[in-house]
Symmetry: C2
Subunit: 276 residues, 2 copies
DNA sequence: AAAAAACGTTTCACTATATGAAACACTGTT
DNA sequence: AACAGTGTTTCATATAGTGAAACGTTTTTT
């Protein structure tokens, strides 16, 4: 009674904080929200959690957490590993693969990405703009030991990645301006472009050149190059990027990398002509 | 009151039917179960659903269904498409990719599968045994128009697929016997092996030859070949299969297919030596 | 152009269900 | 032998989920 939980929920366009569920909207089901907030905890690069641990992280009562986990376990959404810790279950993998949004992009990019990764020997990513960020739909990892590795399904800021910048650059002008209006440009390294005007000019440059470079703008030591993938209406729908350590990724490689990536992009474009 | 919902739930080893939640186990959260049963409906090869449609399919009240959907929408677990129908959302894709079970197998199989698919020009699958069925962890589709296409994350019967049979054949004997004790062998075609003794003998044969064939045992016109993938302890952990239409898949191809698949299997095995 | 059907959504009275502090059983550690 | 750490169960209480019916739109049929 004196120890209320507060819920921060985006609903019908607004973000708000509430003490009880009834205040939020009596159409929302609190238990379901709690269950998914629990699963959200697994995004913290930690694969296994105990009951008390999850309770602490979520702020839920230990008992509530236990009961939610029991429920999710009965559904195979989570499962216990050998140490009796809770991990995400195979049912979630199954459901995730049913998601139809961008499914054709995911499927048709698979083979071309592998070809590029084999040719360039660096990690290749494939992604789209989604809610002002880059959503990674697919990847093909470098066969080398030192490599970039991103989680498929995860998001990254657009303004400081080659993939994000190329997707922005080829978007309609109003979308670019909308982006700049809504996203705060924070410096990740000294190379990050944090000035709106400078970014606009940079995007103009990318549009002219046809590709984007990320020169350690997100992370020191990490360099990327990216090109757009168009549909038949010449609208950008996705992008391909190659990422590698600065020790291997030299300016003289750019042209040969570009010709390899472009072949891959063309292959994808031939499959998704009807996509929009 | 007079229109009870019945819940069929597997919990603590038992499958049971209950009229109210309290009967099931007061530790299970009914709303969470309902939400996931709603998502389960999307496994019926239909990507978009309306409220009433889902209500009818699940047996839930229209209002309840609407509220569950509103909740799931606020979490991006489902989203509305252009026709205002509900489809599975990107958050589910994100969560599905976080599942750690078999993650290394999924990652390391990607490149080899693409190589095989490119060489053989047929669809390649990669899967494991999970709860007496084949779970497809990865695939690389044929570039040809007429091809097999399976959903990653989906399941198939083991006894009538090349992949399932090869995984069974190289499993410990007690697991094979346990399988035969628990699984009913139904005829999918006239070629399906539905006799336990015959299947046992067939598995013995597969073990000797080192590969399994599925000669239209699951579906008329569909032929598959599969080989096992071992860990460093020589235990089978996964399998690779190649599937194609009987019009293309001829007996004289078997040897050349095998040599190509075996290269891929070796590549995967080199990466997963520590897997068990 | 009017009527009917189908849709998602909201209302409101009712009761089933989620809740959490405390107690419990168990395991590994000090 | 005492302790600290788990996950789990209990029980009284109040919150939150429920569904029939009504509502306002949109789409289809007449």
């Amino acid at each position: 009674m004196n120890n209320k939980n507060y819920f921060t929920i985006r609903y019908k366009g607004r973000v708000n904080k509430y003490a009880t569920m009834k205040e939020v909207d009596k159409n929302l089901n609190l238990s379901v929200i709690k269950a998914f907030k629990l699963l959200d905890v697994y995004m913290n690069n930690k694969q296994e959690w105990g009951v008390r641990e999850l309770a602490k992280k979520t702020g839920y009562n230990k008992t509530t957490t236990y009961r939610l986990l029991s429920t999710l376990e009965s559904l195979d959404i989570v499962q216990k590993n050998d140490d009796d810790k809770y991990i995400l279950g195979l049912k979630l993998f199954e459901l995730g693969n049913l998601v139809s949004v961008h499914k054709s992009l995911r499927n048709y990019s698979r083979a071309p990405l592998e070809t590029i990764a084999k040719d360039i020997k660096e990690t290749v990513h494939f992604g789209v703009l989604s809610n002002h960020r880059v959503l990674y739909l697919n990847k093909a990892e470098s066969e080398l030991g030192l490599k970039v590795s991103t989680q498929i399904g995860s998001y990254q800021q657009a303004y400081c990645t080659a993939l994000g910048k190329v997707l922005l650059a080829f978007s309609p002008t109003d979308q670019i301006l909308d982006y700049l209006k809504n996203v705060k440009l924070d410096a990740h390294t000294t190379n990050t472009i944090i000035d709106s005007k400078a970014l606009l000019g940079h995007l103009e440059h990318i549009r002219k050149e046809g590709y984007a470079l990320d020169m350690e703008e997100l992370e020191i030591g990490l360099i990327c190059i990216a090109i757009p993938v168009f549909n038949k209406n010449k609208e950008v729908v996705a992008g391909i990027s190659v990422s590698g350590p600065s020790s291997r990724f030299k300016p003289e490689n750019v042209q040969s990398y570009l010709s390899i990536i472009k072949k891959g992009a063309l292959e994808i474009e031939n499959h998704i002509r009807d996509y929009n």
